[in-house]
Every structure is written in structure tokens, then in C-alpha cells.
Amino acid sequence: MSTLDPVVLFFVLGVVAGLMRSDLRLPSAVYEFVTMLLLLAIGLKGGVELSRQSLATMAPQMGAVIAMGLTLPLLAYPVLHYAGKLKRADAASIAAHYGSVSVGTYAVVAAYLSSQGIPFEEYMPVFVVMLEIPAIFVGILLVRGRALQQPFSHLAREIFLGKGVVLLIGGLLIGWIAGADGVQPIGKLFFDLFKGILALFLLEMGLITVGQLGDLRRSGLFLVAFAIVFPMFAAMIGGTLGWALGLSLGGTVVMATLAASASYIAVPAAMRMAVPEASPSLSLAASLGVTFPFNILIGIPLYHSAVRLMYPEGA
């Protein structure tokens, strides 16, 4: 089979169509629909697995994952601000994006591993949900210090009540309460169709990526370099963490990929409201225009082969 997972071919189709200036576009209502299904599906999946685990056993792992979510933006910020000479607000906003995770990238790595027949801890979606948010707070504190422009409550709402987060967390809770049997009847929509829905999502992502190239050109070479190098560096951290937590080979690949991925759903909305002086086009150009395609086309296989070295005995 081709080295590219079939769903990724839809991304490529989107990119090509976009570059050739096709008028192809998912209607925004459909793109939103497809995204909602992905978010709910990932949340549900995570919740079901959570209901199988004892929180006690997972607590340490969760702590470590959150710690990573808080650390990554602190590592990204100085690079962006001092090396990259980016305005404080922009540097903090981009740092928040890269400290958080990309749900789409997670879906692709999950598809990648499953089509390679590589198992991974079923509860990984829990980490996806947990990594969404911490980086946002770090990002905001990096700009505002403790002097928040708006009341914190208002801010917390922007963060936790953004629809992306609500669907992820809501799905997680529903999956947790209902458990595997309870979720089974709705699984035909949320789980069986997952890859097909992902394909449509990636088709549109390809078109969106091309749309970012314009802003990218304006944003300069440094940002492009950052959007490729930082994810690889973050992947090392994530991979090491996964290995240290004793995850399987597959789980470690997922962790590396999560660390390497940059948010474009929860974080942009939150930062736009919390740090309006930061240019949204900069962070989106980097995360959508460079990091997302890099990860799903090159990063994931790369992280996979790197992680393989850490697991000499195979899985």
C-alpha cells in the first residue's frame, strides 16, 4: 500500500485543488458538522476508555501530560520572542497554539497506526482533551502577567465554553457516564463513519492550508522554520515522556505527535478574545499552513521511526 494513509490523500487532494485555484470548498456548515463529529467522537472514545480505567492508575500520567502542556509554551515563547523578534503578544499566542494539540493531527496518527496494525493505549483521547487547555493559560499569563484585561471569569468562559472544548469535554463525559455498552448504539455514526468523516475534514483542511500560504509569505521565513523545527523538538519531549510513562510503542508515537501538533480550534478562539492585539493570522499561518501538513505528511512517519529506536524489542 502507499506510504500515505488514504485519508491523507484527501488532504493532498485539497492542497492540489487549492493550489490550482479550484472553486472546491466544503460549505462552512458542512465543515463545522464534520468537525463537530470528530470532536464528539474523540471525546466519546476517550470517555469510554476512561470508564474502563481506574482514575488512580491514570492520575500520574495525566499529571505528567498536563505538565507537558504547561511546559511546551514556556519553551516556545523565548524562541519566538527573542530569537524571532516577534511582538510579545504574538510570541505568546503562537506559543499557546504549539503547547496545545491539534485534534485533526491526532485523528490522522490514530488512523496511521491502526492501518499499520500498531496498537496504542485506547485512552489516548483523554490526553488529547487534557492537552487542549493548559497552554492557553500559559499563553495569556505570558502577555498579561497577572494584569488581565478582562475579568477572569469572562476569560475562563471563552476558554472552556468555546464550542470545540465543549464538544470534546462533553463527549468525554457522556462516554464516561454511558460506558462502552451505552455508547454502542450511537457508535454507528460516531465510530464506524469516523475515517470517512476524517477524509472530508482533511479535504477541507487541505484547502484551508493553501489559503494560509498568503499570510505565511508575509509572516517571514523564521516562522516557517519555527513551525517545522519546534514540532520536531516537541515530539522528542513528547516521545520521551511517553516512553518514561511506560506507554506502548504506538502510545509513544501518539504522545510525540500530540506534542508536535499545534491547535487551530480551541486556542485561536480563546486567544482572539484574551489577547486581541496578537495577530491571529500569524499563528494560524504557522499551525495550519506549515505544522499541520508537515506533521501528517512527514512528521508522523518520522516520529514513528524515531520512536522505534526507543523500543528495540518492538512493541
Binding site: S28, Y31, T35, A269, P276, E277, L284
Partner: protein, 100 residues
């Protein structure tokens, strides 16, 4: 049919601001508003739909000139620096003027 004159204030801004701008508009004394989804391009570049991350909205408010100026001034204060937003005003004839 006798009509009266009111101001039609049209605001085009990024969709994420809807709840905030609409709240401002009501607080500043308008009795109603109409919102339509839009896309477009301006100083801050193309704003096209999708996971409504960057779609625009178009808010129309019919109100008294004074209120319109109040709203316009407030919006310029609060949003012009950091958000994609334009606005323009024109006199319109209305029936049932007391409504506005």
C-alpha cells in the same frame, strides 16, 4: 405615506465578536438589530468562512442619529485597534418611527 428619518448603522466585523457587539448595541440604546453572515477582505486580509474561525458578520442597526454616533464611537474605541471591523451610516426613511 408619511415616514420619518432614522440612521441605518451597518457594522461589518469578525463573527467571533457577535455576542459582544450586539450586547454593546443594545446597551447603548438601539431597540433592535439584524445580523447576516458575510465574508470579505479588508486591511486585515481575507475573511472566509469555516469552523467560523474567521467569518465575518454584518450587523444592521436602525436607530436615532445620536444613538448611532454613540455606538459608532464606542465600537471604534473598543475594537478598531485589534479587530477586523468597519462601519458606515446612512439616513433611511422608516414607518413606525417610535420602534427605533
Amino acid at each position: 405615506m408619511q415616514t420619518e428619518i432614522r440612521k441605518l448603522l451597518t457594522i461589518v466585523c469578525e463573527g467571533q465578536l457577535e455576542s459582544r457587539v450586539v450586547a454593546d448595541v443594545e446597551r447603548l440604546g438601539a431597540h433592535g438589530y439584524t445580523v447576516t453572515d458575510a465574508r470579505g477582505k479588508g486591511g486585515r486580509g481575507v475573511r472566509d468562512a469555516g469552523w467560523d474561525r474567521s467569518a465575518n458578520i454584518r450587523i444592521e442597526v436602525v436607530c436615532e442619529a445620536a444613538t448611532a454616533n454613540l455606538i459608532a464611537a464606542h465600537l471604534r474605541e473598543s475594537y478598531y485597534d485589534h479587530y477586523a471591523m468597519i462601519l458606515f451610516m446612512v439616513d433611511v426613511e422608516v414607518l413606525r418611527a417610535r420602534k427605533f
